[in-house]
């Protein structure tokens, strides 16, 4: 993994996932011990489109390991708006830094950047394509809450058509014999290519229209946002928007180990009263993002 860019979840093997998770756990358990691990290193965070949450999580990860940060957010404030290409920006910044964290709205731009750059690149989201650190933090969170990764029943809810986090998670979890339940509006069902992938791997999955059907079977309920823009017919959206909202009373009678996850930001797909339920885990999940990114950065730099 040393010096190797992380652009797509497919760049890592099962062994790599496990290594990152173990390292994230080590950082979480011993926060003080690694405060100088990145000292003398400069990490660039290049956010060609804004994503405050992801950027802060990466920057917090670097700061906690004692590294320095340079970078920009939003192309408007950089030379990109003056017409500089990804190529020139990356070539230049790779002279100033030891590792680049990059987010860009164009799909494949981070892979392209990794071919040009003299230093490794970590993808912080390239349009609708990949966001591998989110996937790794999801895996870490699932393992943390269930004390294992094998043979879990995972329910995915919401926009399963465009949601890249659910697609990556399916692929990453495929190593650990899961059972999936997919709950989504008709228009946002899981695309065929992923169902074919699961069939080829002999992984069980079922599709549902009602979340209540599967709440009691689940170890993990992973909720994603249903965006109005995704519907060709706005009336369709109005009809389904409340059918995929998690309410506190729906959690009654569920398994004791059940945890509710969400990649955030949330709009209204999880009721605010759920937040205080001990099965709600999405804020802790976001916190885990910091440890996971610490693990990814330090392992790419060959420091751990």
């Amino acid at each position: 993994m040393k010096n190797k860019s992380l652009v797509s979840i497919h760049d890592y093997s099962k062994k790599d996932y496990l290594r990152i998770m173990d390292l994230a756990e080590e950082f979480e358990k011993n926060p003080k011990k690694y405060g100088r691990l990145l000292s003398g290193k400069v990490i660039a965070t290049l956010f060609f489109e804004p994503s405050t949450r992801t950027r802060l999580s990466f920057e917090s990860a670097v700061q906690r390991l004692g590294g320095k940060i340079i970078g920009f957010t939003d192309a408007g404030s950089s030379s990109v708006s003056k017409g500089e290409t990804v190529k020139d920006t990356i070539k230049t910044v790779s002279q100033y830094s030891d590792l680049i964290v990059m987010r860009h709205p164009i799909e494949g731009s981070v892979r392209w950047a990794s071919e040009i750059s003299d230093v490794p690149i970590v993808n912080a989201g390239d349009g609708a394509n990949q966001h591998p650190t989110q996937c790794l933090l999801d895996l870490y969170t699932i393992r943390q809450t269930q004390k294992k990764l094998n043979n879990l029943t995972i329910t995915m809810v919401g926009d399963l058509k465009y949601g890249r986090t659910v697609h990556s998670l399916i692929q990453a979890m495929s190593y650990f014999s899961p059972t999936f339940h997919f709950v989504s509006p008709q228009e946002l069902k899981m695309p065929n290519e992923y169902k074919i992938f699961l069939k080829e791997k002999n992984i069980m999955f079922e599709e549902h229209k009602d979340l209540n059907e599967v709440m009691k079977k689940s170890d993990i309920v992973y909720i994603t946002r249903v965006q109005k823009e995704r519907f060709s017919d706005p009336i369709e959206y109005e009809k389904v928007k409340n059918a995929f909202v998690l309410k506190n009373d729906m959690i009654e009678g569920t398994k004791s180990n059940l945890k509710i996850l969400h990649p955030l930001p949330r709009v209204n797909e999880i009721d605010q009263d759920v937040d205080s339920n001990q099965k709600a885990y999405y804020f802790k999940q976001a916190h885990n993002g910091v440890f996971t990114r610490m693990a990814i950065i330090s392992s790419i730099l060959g420091l751990k």
Partner: protein
């Protein structure tokens, strides 16, 4: 009935070189451009809209004194999967081959995802061939699929 001599008149035989036969007529000009024939300095005979029993109308290309590598010839497989390669020496066919769809493809076709970096910046397309029968390509950059019905020259 057509005699052998009449055929000879239509397309003159070459002493040595390569004959690419069974090119679908509608792909002939794409094949010419993929092989960059305009840059070659030898005698080239191009036949267009020839009748073919198996394909309706076909194209044929004769390259005198040129023997492109199998790797280069395979590039045309995307647009002419049934093309036959005949190697000619001393007016005789000494070798016959079919083109083969390669495992990876660089350039030649566009990624059909309009949001892909290869359609925004000057980046050469790179694909993994994930299905050879009904040729299906996966973009190395955006990871999206481009299928046979959507091949467009880059």
């Amino acid at each position: 009935m057509e005699t052998k001599d009449m055929k000879e008149l239509k397309v003159s035989a070459i002493k040595q070189g390569t004959v690419i036969d069974h090119i679908p007529a509608q792909s002939l000009f794409k094949v010419i451009s993929i092989l960059e024939l305009q840059k070659m300095d030898t005698q080239i005979t191009i036949g267009y809209n020839f009748e073919s029993k198996s394909m309706g109308q076909k194209g044929i290309i004769k390259l005198a004194d040129k023997f492109p590598s199998q790797k280069d010839l395979n590039k045309i497989a995307l647009f002419a999967p049934e093309a036959k390669i005949n190697i000619i020496r001393n007016y005789k066919v000494v070798e016959k081959d079919l083109v083969q769809v390669p495992d990876t493809i660089e350039g030649i076709v566009k990624c059909m995802n309009p949001k892909c970096i290869t359609n925004h910046e000057c980046v050469k397309t790179k694909f993994t061939v994930i299905e050879k029968k009904k040729v299906t390509l996966k973009c190395k950059y955006c990871e999206k699929i481009t299928d046979q019905e959507h091949f467009e020259m880059k």
